[in-house]
């Protein structure tokens, strides 16, 4: 190291040059992956999976909600709803028709939710 004096360029800032050269070498050298990415991916937290019991539980829950809504429907609301339905469909809807409609609506809603929240 001590014999280098007369062999270096006589630039004012030789250290700057040395640092730049070292940096260029650092930038140019590419470290091969060698399984590094696979190791990282292997350590990622597992994706949150929906528990197996969730689907039937949600179906049961929706059924309960639908029944509760139907049971709570006031008579005047049923009348109004039936008249409106009659206006469009040409016939009055019975409570069972409303229940079926709500159940159908619930089924479609939950299916859409399951589809949106599905995991690979």
């Amino acid at each position: 190291m001590m014999t280098m004096n007369n062999q270096m360029p006589t630039d004012d800032d030789w250290l700057e040059q040395a640092l730049r050269a070292n940096a260029r070498e650092h930038t140019a050298s590419y470290l091969p992956d060698d399984g590094f990415t696979a190791r990282v991916l292997g350590q990622l937290p597992r994706p949150a999976a929906l528990p197996a019991w969730r689907r039937p539980a949600l179906w049961a829950l929706w059924a309960i909600v639908a029944i509760a809504i139907l049971a709570a429907l006031p008579v005047w609301f049923e009348d109004v709803f039936s008249n409106i339905a009659a206006l469009f469909l040409g016939q009055r809807l019975r409570l069972t028709d409303v229940a079926m409609l709500l159940t159908l609506l619930g089924g479609v809603t939950w299916s859409a939710l399951f589809f949106a929240a599905r995991t690979e």
Partner: protein, 191 residues
């Protein structure tokens, strides 16, 4: 080098919206070399420790990807996580591990033997002496040099990575260069 067909921002969006692990894998593949190389410099050549820290860096990046605001480049954000991981490890170990001096001595001796006849060997000798001198810097000084020179960041970007004011980065760089000059004085041209 041509720019990739899918940008980092698009890959990040895929990870955030769909938890797309293939997209995250692509991000790791793109940046693993620079992050690992940067950590190797910070750990003064300890490749095993650097790779462990790099792995930790990418895991932390995955967990905290939502907090990446795209104000800086993704690589700059990764450097910051990597530097924090390095600091945490250095605190844990009390002192950062240095490169094996015996190996450096052997390499240095080998190059000094032929330096009279081969300019390439002279450059290699300077490189080894520079690496050794870098190892004597404080963590903050070494980190400032690595960010500003090796990662080619501006002082502002380096300040973001190192989590300190721009003025502090400049001071670290200045002090580091003074120490390197003193350490590598024999390489200075004659006045």
């Amino acid at each position: 080098m041509s720019s990739p067909a899918v940008s980092d921002a698009q890959l990040i969006a895929r990870v955030l919206v769909q938890d797309d692990r293939h997209a995250f894998g692509e991000l790791v593949r793109r940046h693993q070399s620079t992050v690992r190389a940067c950590l190797r410099k910070l750990t003064t050549g300890n490749a095993a420790l650097a790779d462990d820290l790099a792995q930790e860096t990418f895991l932390l990046a995955y967990k905290n990807l939502k907090s990446f605001r795209q104000e800086a480049k993704f690589s700059t954000w990764l450097y910051r996580i990597a530097y924090n991981a390095f600091l945490a490890d250095a605190r844990k170990m009390k002192e950062s591990p240095l490169a094996d001096d015996a190996d450096l001595d052997a390499l240095s001796a080998e190059h000094h033997e032929t330096e009279e006849s081969r300019p390439v060997a002279r450059a290699a000798s300077l490189k080894i002496d520079l690496e050794r001198a870098m190892a004597t810097l404080s963590d903050a000084e070494r980190a400032a040099i690595i960010q500003c020179y090796h990662n080619d960041l501006s002082h502002e970007e380096a300040a973001l990575v190192l989590g300190c004011p721009v003025g502090t980065v400049k001071t670290h760089v200045l002090r580091a260069k003074q120490k390197l000059k003193a350490r590598l004085g024999a390489w200075a041209p004659p006045t």
